[in-house]
Symmetry: D2
């Protein structure tokens, strides 16, 4: 099975890029199932009903997320009922929404998990322990398990990857909006990459206009950040999984540049 | 001119990798000048006289560094007299050593700057302002200016890169020990990559043994980290610069895997 | 000379408390000059023209501030012209407003400095170096120098206090909104207290309603914080200074509780 | 019942101060039970068998702790068997030692809990949820419940205090080494103070020599911190509890200064 995981889609430019490029990418890479991190989908911050529905229409099967998922209050209206949206599973119990779910495709169960790091981030439950518990629960029903680890620190990301080596099909990082070139398969068969990057404006800083970000660093005064415009980059990774045992057979980075 | 910049060299395995691979890499890529981040050179933490001299013998021309440069007290004995070692230039004035220097090669002056980020790091002087001031000073003597920005946050790194677009030949990130795949040339001719990665043990977490790092995340108790062994990865970037105007003509990532 | 320094005034309840209590406090304690931290004056976040003018009318002579000073955009309209408002002096050069100023009272020059800490706070210029530079500049004109150090970490606050012992009349901390009981006079004559506390709602968490703050800790989800109501606490410190040499002769904490 | 809680005892000077002053303080204040935070007992960092035994000999009944508890490796030899030592209860399950325990005194059960904050500190389990769970467990056996909340941020400390109002006899903060003057009894009968301070060298920065701390802030270079000498301050709080219902009837700060 070939699974496409797409890095944080940022705002309107990111969504248009998915709309325009996704069909062809899925065809070219022979994709069976598509997961996209959508925490920055609506104006760069959060998700609303309209844009997430569009994304599903464009061919995304499951939306993972991260710290920005709560930025638009509207999310609380539909996150409990929309099983295709995941939020980090290590938010406190009772948090609205779900952090993992099993999806069925051609007779195969695919377990998808979303977790957030803690280093330089919010004080959530331990992602290492949470991952163990969830995977143990999923294992009886799924051979294929994929995890979007939304985290900042490279040490925490690689540590989780190695900790879960042999227990999941692939651990894929998001959040930094910069794709890393360290994709690999660990020795027990788990695919890994520290960050799959961002799908959004190319002439930007992490998807937003450069000038206010630079000013903010220079002045330390509050600035208003807006999603940038112009060319859009597509960032993602294609993971090939052996359905018989859930092992990762291949992990390949994708970068594309789209002009409207 | 073709310049090789090498990602944080970690411990004995990293040094051996440089010793064994550097001559051939320099030949293959037609390298004129070699810069390597050496903050993790001695046992993964800091620099001592012996190992830094070895590194220069192996063919490195200039050593940049970062937060770990002070880990071995010995550094204070020679950092003032050894002009080939740079520490981040935005440490307070009066800090031992230097943060930038001009090197001469075949009649060309090459200005090398080392700076540290502040986001999730130490409270240093502003790297944006410091970079401006230093570049203004160097400009009259150097067409070619290269900057090793040792920083954690992708936003700070890309912001500095864009801020200096057109003012330096290349801005190259280090510190995360994971190479990114976002190398590019900004529109005013400055080469950029968020992180050039690490030269050190491949079966590791950022160069050190995996198990103590994983345990530290699981237990939150202090652990002793040791440089890992086994295969070694070489990470770096080749930057081609037009000598006439200092513009970046090409930036290419290098990854190699070395077994002893 | 007897100087009153008032801890962060929070919102409408804090302002009313000043209006109602300040005249009597000034009389009871024989106050010559009054300084108040006003970063939370308008709705708990920032300052606007109307509320700051009211505060001056109520008898405050100088307003210091901190990280929240920029929360209301209106501040940029008048911070350059209103010399009675100070913002932390270690913001980058060119930041609007001023970080220190000399005020004249009965033939005495009083130098007031406002600085921000860096530990767990914004990446500003070094408060230790900045304090030295400013004090050197003020010394020729002022015997009396007071510093509001708006900072989080007790180590940074006490370190600055001891660093400046003998160079200023008093170093007084703000920002944590909790008054400390460590007021003292260091051996070279500088008065010190880690934090003078907050003037605002008593039944609150740092001035804002308790429930959203508790929820935010429990859920890690965004919450909207509102200034609380009910009884109001007055927090401050009275500093007695020998005019002849600027030494601190006494430092006394004040706490009062006000019901409307 | 009258309970004495003593702020972080720092090194040899702190221990001597306890040895010399504790008997008289217990007599003067009519103390029935004594709890002391001992995370800095041995050389300012951690605990060893000898010094903790001395402290118990001097009259401390229970030792709470915090982030520094693990600094001396020796702790792992006896923390499991010594029930009078507590470490923060919100370390991951399976962490050596215990985070709460019931102590018996004259037919009364006293439940003591130790927790660590997370803001600006380690990534532990949620102290709010953990406190709820533990208190629910203790409630059936103890009317009197005391909690040492070892935390940095005033917001987190006061939030936990208010969250537990009516569920514990008192919530007492430690860790900042600076005593606050906000002791109070919340409306449902829980005593509270943000920080009870430090028992250790008075001419110091948080117990250690001032100069290296100041240098560290000025240079941002590593420094070696040593416990200071000279006069010693005693910091603590006396809590009077109604045995019938466990409510706090009085909370009084203690400060003393001891010269050898
Ligand atoms: Fe994102
Ligand atoms: Fe994110
Ligand atoms: Fe490094
Ligand atoms: Fe580093
Ligand atoms: Fe404030
Ligand atoms: Fe503040
Ligand atoms: Fe302590
Ligand atoms: Fe502590």
């Amino acid at each position: 099975m070939r699974i496409l995981m797409i890095g944080d889609i940022v705002g309107n430019p990111g969504r248009k890029c998915i709309r325009d490029l996704l069909p062809k990418i899925k065809e070219n890479y022979n994709i069976d199932f598509t997961i996209a991190n959508c925490e920055n989908l609506a104006g760069g911050k959060g998700i609303n009903k309209k844009v997430i529905n569009n994304i599903f229409t464009y061919g995304v099967d499951v939306a993972t997320s991260g710290n920005h998922i709560w930025d638009k209050k509207e999310i609380f209206d539909f996150i409990d009922s929309e099983t295709r949206i995941l939020r980090p599973a290590n938010y406190p119990v009772k948090t609205p929404g779900r952090g993992y779910h099993i999806f069925e495709l051609n007779g195969n169960n695919i377990g998808i998990i979303n977790l957030s790091g803690r280093v330089f981030m919010s004080d959530l439950d331990c992602p290492f322990q949470k991952a163990s518990t969830i995977i143990e629960e999923l294992r009886s029903q799924c051979k294929i398990i994929l995890l979007d680890f939304h985290a900042e620190a490279t040490s925490e990301k690689m540590a989780l990857g190695r900790y879960l080596d042999g227990k999941a099909s692939a651990i894929v990082g998001t959040h930094t909006h910069v794709q890393t070139s360290d994709e690999r398969i660990f020795e027990n068969g788990t695919g890994y990459i520290t960050d799959i990057g961002m799908t959004g404006p190319y002439e930007s800083i992490l998807g937003v206009e450069s000038e206010p970000v630079i000013n903010n660093f220079l002045t330390q005064l509050p600035e208003r950040f807006e999603v940038a415009s112009g060319k859009v980059q597509f960032n993602g990774v294609v993971i090939e999984i052996e359905e018989a045992d859930g092992k990762c057979k291949d992990i390949e980075r994708i970068q594309d540049l789209h002009e409207f």
